[in-house]
Symmetry: C2
Subunit: 214 residues, 2 copies
């Protein structure tokens, strides 16, 4: 069982969306915005937005609305973006390489320090400046380099063992792409990206629409 | 605004998880299971499981529990897995290639018919047996081949235009990996995988844990 938050996950999952939309407003040089305008852009009700933000002390002023830059920075801080994170990627197949190549992550302060794989054909290669290391050297690497987030991009058969190895070396946050629910110590954070589950949500809606039409 | 379901999205998003766990039980040759046992394995309460399944007519018998194979098949049908889906991938970069290489999708009935890209170095290449075609030929391809799901793996700048092109050619379901909320006609289904939003959920929990510890 991984770590549970004191704020509801539904609220937490909306925060990155606020952050993204506020960033777009900033890029368009918009300085302030009412909760009503923000609600029209982002697609949540104004009351939802106020409630969400009240979890973190509340922002904005009656009659003025929100200062865009201030709110963007505050939400960034709430999301933990006022610091950087060292990451490693386990599994240097296509997905791992896609993530290593995704330079957008760096803008948010994520620094990928190494990738690991068991495939001799991949070991020693570099994706951008990130070296693919031998999986056997994982523990040695983790004893020398402080890593905040382990990103698991392996098959489901390997994922649990890798999670065990990461957590026993002190990695306390895992971004997991393997289609399995990892068992980790209580205080470890696991965030899953289950691609098949996302795709099956889509087919559910597809099927439901067909049934309504027929 | 894309299509809204009559069943709550929270319920729908749990269905693929039931499907996955039931598949594991089947593979372990387990024929029947009580809602209590299922709840221990899957991590939802037994009452949650009963409530979820009651949305679709209810399954299982008092005193017997669930027939694993029957429930697996029923949930598969509810998820629309009793048919196949033709897909195309737009954007043949690392992520698009990772998805094209992910043979797991085929087991669920997804057939990737083609990939599309604007990069001349990629056009004409094949990922497994899937050809990367010139983006300019998208409309021609769609007029000849019935495609159920368009998978968008481009940058955010291109994603909306591609969604417009897909929907105007009759593609009514989009699996979107670009970090943008697409505007589509009311009846089109959009399922997003917003990787950055997932990662920022993780950093939120990281930050919250640090604050509690300090």
């Amino acid at each position: 069982m991984s770590r549970k938050s004191r704020v509801s996950m539904a609220v937490i999952r909306r925060l990155p969306k606020y952050h993204r939309y506020l960033n777009e407003l900033l890029n368009r040089d918009i300085k302030r915005i009412s909760s009503k305008e923000l609600s029209e852009i982002i697609g949540f009700t104004a009351s939802q937005i106020r409630q969400d933000l009240n979890n973190f002390g509340g922002f904005g002023q009656q009659g003025y609305g929100y200062n865009v830059e201030e709110l963007y920075n505050e939400i960034g801080k709430i999301l933990g973006l006022d610091r950087g994170y060292n990451t490693i990627i386990i599994g240097a197949g296509n997905l791992g390489q896609a993530l290593a190549n995704y330079s957008n992550f760096e803008k948010f302060g994520f620094r990928c320090k190494a990738m690991f794989d068991v495939n001799p054909k991949l070991i020693g290669l570099k994706i951008r400046d990130i070296e693919i290391k031998d999986m056997d050297t994982l523990e040695e690497f983790l004893s020398e380099t402080q890593i905040d987030i382990g990103i698991i991009c392996t098959n489901k058969e390997s994922a649990q063992l890798i999670a065990d190895r990461l957590t026993s070396c002190g990695v306390t946050a895992i971004w997991n792409f393997a289609p399995v629910d990892l068992k980790v110590p209580d205080d470890v954070i696991v965030e899953n990206v289950h691609l098949i589950e996302s795709l099956l949500t889509l087919t559910y809606l597809y099927k439901e629409r067909e049934e309504e039409e027929s």
